[in-house]
């Protein structure tokens, strides 16, 4: 048994070392990334925040957010839609399963509960700052939403899921929040177009800053803080992702016997 394990580990190690060696030192796949792609990175880095080239710029110092919600914004919209449908499918799987009685929960020990009470506000502040500062520092809506989703997860584990319900964070409210987040993302994606149509001008779907053919765009900053559509997208994505993950954890925390009882009846 030990010999077999040893052989497996040796073969695996040899495979990893040889693959890394052939790809990095021997360059069997050619240069990675290929030289022909490098001007693309150069272009993004050089135009994401250039007020003197505003027809090309996303006007956000955070290049990754600029790429995600401006240069390839439609991709991110579809990713958000995929995540939304995954959550919808989970809710559909758990339909009709609801635990009626609540209260009387004990939770984990007092030490864990006190530490959680101290840490959860910190978690919320960090998540909000990742979302709001998404246009100037690393971060953005998805990052902030998943960081924020850790807070209800800790609450479910340390206290109980009835605790969340008691505090008003029910499944239905979260579904509504998730819908609102998605509607916000949708509205932000056609905001410039709507402004264009109202003012009789010309604009694109998913337009952020003015372009040469479509001079209508969103203000690049609010009181000196980089904004545009990126800030709106980040905030609504933050709400949508947070609500989505929390719904999943509320559903997953339903005990198996309760789910079985709801599906098959008491027998």
């Amino acid at each position: 048994m030990l010999l077999r394990r040893l052989i497996t580990v040796s073969v695996l190690t040899a495979f990893i070392v040889l693959t890394s060696y052939t790809i990095t030192v021997l360059n069997v796949l050619g240069e990675l990334p290929p030289r022909s792609l490098r001007p693309l990175a150069f272009w993004f880095l050089n135009t994401s925040f250039t007020p003197w080239l505003n027809y090309f710029s996303a006007m956000a110092p955070e290049t990754v957010t600029a790429i995600l919600w401006d240069y390839r914004g439609l991709d991110t919209l579809f990713e958000t839609a995929v995540f939304y449908f995954a959550i919808i499918a989970s809710i559909a799987l758990f339909r009709g399963i609801e635990e009626k009685h609540g209260g009387g929960y004990v939770g984990l020990s007092k030490i864990v509960r006190v530490v959680s009470r101290v840490l959860i506000p910190v978690n919320i502040v960090v998540a909000a700052s990742i979302a709001i500062h998404g246009t100037i520092t690393p971060g953005g809506g998805f990052q902030a939403g998943s960081a924020m989703a850790v807070a209800p997860l800790i609450l479910i584990i340390v206290f109980s899921r009835f605790f969340l319900k008691e505090k008003g964070l029910s499944k239905n409210l979260l579904i509504a929040l998730r819908g609102a987040g998605l509607v916000g993302v949708g509205v932000a994606s056609i905001l410039a177009l709507a402004l264009g149509l109202l003012s009789g001008g010309y604009a694109f779907i998913f337009q952020n800053q003015p372009k040469e053919a479509a001079p209508i765009g969103l203000p690049p900053d609010v009181l000196g803080f980089p904004a545009g559509t990126l800030l709106i997208f980040n905030l609504f994505e933050f709400i949508a992702v947070f609500a989505g993950f929390t719904i999943i954890f509320i559903l997953l925390s339903i005990p198996e016997d309760v789910a079985r009882e709801a599906l098959h009846g008491k027998h």
């Binding site: 971060g139 990052q143 960081a147 850790v150 999943i248 954890f249 997953l252």
Partner: protein, 84 residues
């Protein structure tokens, strides 16, 4: 110069640890321990992403792969059996 060597040293330390953690996660029969090994691998990857200067990935990787994903798997294990 020292920083470059330190970075390289950290990468050379964390990459094998993550590979060993993956191996242990796959072969471990106790599912709870397997989740912990998987979280260890995620932790190594989070450090590696940070060393490779991808803070955006780190910010999403830390909550998802060290917090949410092991928690989801633990909830699912509770619904089945603890050992394979």
């Amino acid at each position: 110069m020292f920083e470059a060597f330190f970075t390289l040293f950290l990468m050379m330390l964390l990459s094998p640890i993550s590979t060993i953690a993956v191996y242990l996660a796959v072969t471990e029969r106790n599912l709870l321990r397997a989740v912990l090994f998987s979280a260890l691998q995620s932790m190594c990857y989070a450090f590696l992403y940070y060393i490779l200067m991808a803070p955006d990935i780190v910010l999403v990787y830390v909550p998802v792969s060290i917090g949410l994903y092991p928690a989801a798997i633990l909830f699912l294990i509770r619904k089945t059996k603890e050992c394979e």
